[in-house]
Subunit: 200 residues, 2 copies
């Protein structure tokens, strides 16, 4: 029961996007984001690239920040929520291994959003609510399990800085080493930095 | 012997900028960079803000990437080169304490440059040669002294990732915690993450 929302459709009746069509749209939004940056991304460009009407885009997602962040959330290949391997090292490695082939793409997205998220309050809020907060909750559970298993001391100061360490790995790798933050590098970084900082 | 290079000067004779005038120019470039981002920064805007002629800007700095990176390098308040307190913790803390009042400004600059440096090869090269490589050499010496003093084992894997850890502190703090990467936070991060990862 697919209803395409093509530019030529002149009616204002509400169309329901199929999940496939939604995913196509999200992928196009993220591609555009990497190509032109957040400020350069216009609803016009999204409409043109996806052959949809701007009316449909606004009806479905209300605003550019909402559309961008929903696209990020819906195309996320893996969430910490789904991972529980029985050890902290296993959990962290699993995230990296499941995101294989995505890490350069993700790093490009982070670069495209970094400045914009700071300047644009609505984007920052949407990122926080839809993307950052849920992952922080999941990471908290991952770390809590590690503490419960006795892998990490409950008062280990680095417990509060795991996302900061990982964020640095993504941002610094291309800047300092001129290399992509690929899975091999991330796995090495986990063993060299994250686990030792946690005393594992 | 100050020779101002004002817009009204119609001659093409070479003007020599005084160090004070150069610094004014650099500060203006960095302010603009934070305000409008790298892509939004034009030589016209720099000329207007600093009341100089574009000819002077191009004669002195050749290109926008050169001007931006020279501004970054010349206004850097502190370099690891100048610091040797006798302990690794002391050295790292000294960098933070000497940059006090600059850290939010520096973080804003990093956000403004992160995406641009990846997209623009000339900017990336200039950043690397003028800013990143010299600091990496200095950091290497700092870490080598720590190894020589017996503070850090020579084969400690985290030795290769100190800039990555610090980079993460700057980028992640505003994004995840909604707070600036201020000196208090950075000092805590050094004790919680950097030194434990190095086994200090």
């Amino acid at each position: 029961m697919r209803t395409d929302d093509a530019v030529e459709a002149p009616t204002s009746r509400r169309t329901r996007l199929t999940p496939e069509r939604e995913n196509e749209l999200y992928e196009a939004v993220l591609d555009l984001l990497v190509e032109v940056g957040y400020d350069g991304l216009t609803m016009d460009a999204v409409a043109a690239r996806t052959r949809s009407s701007k009316a449909t885009l606004y009806r479905q997602w209300k605003s550019k920040p909402q559309l961008v962040v929903t696209a990020l959330r819906k195309t996320k290949p893996v969430s910490l929520h789904d991972i529980d391997t029985g050890s902290l090292r296993g959990d962290l490695r699993e995230v990296v291994l499941c995101s294989r082939e995505r890490s350069e793409h993700d790093a490009a997205l982070m670069r495209a959003l970094g400045h914009a998220a700071h300047e644009n309050h609505e984007l920052h809020q949407a990122l926080r609510e839809l993307l950052i907060d849920p992952e922080m909750v999941a990471l908290d559970q991952t770390l809590r399990r590690a503490v419960d298993r006795g892998e990490v001391a409950a008062d280990r100061p680095a417990l509060g800085y795991v996302p900061h360490m990982m964020c640095g790995a993504f941002v610094a790798r291309p800047l300092i080493d001129d290399e992509p933050a690929d899975p091999d590098y991330l796995l090495t970084y986990i063993d060299a930095v994250v686990l030792p900082a946690l005393g594992v």
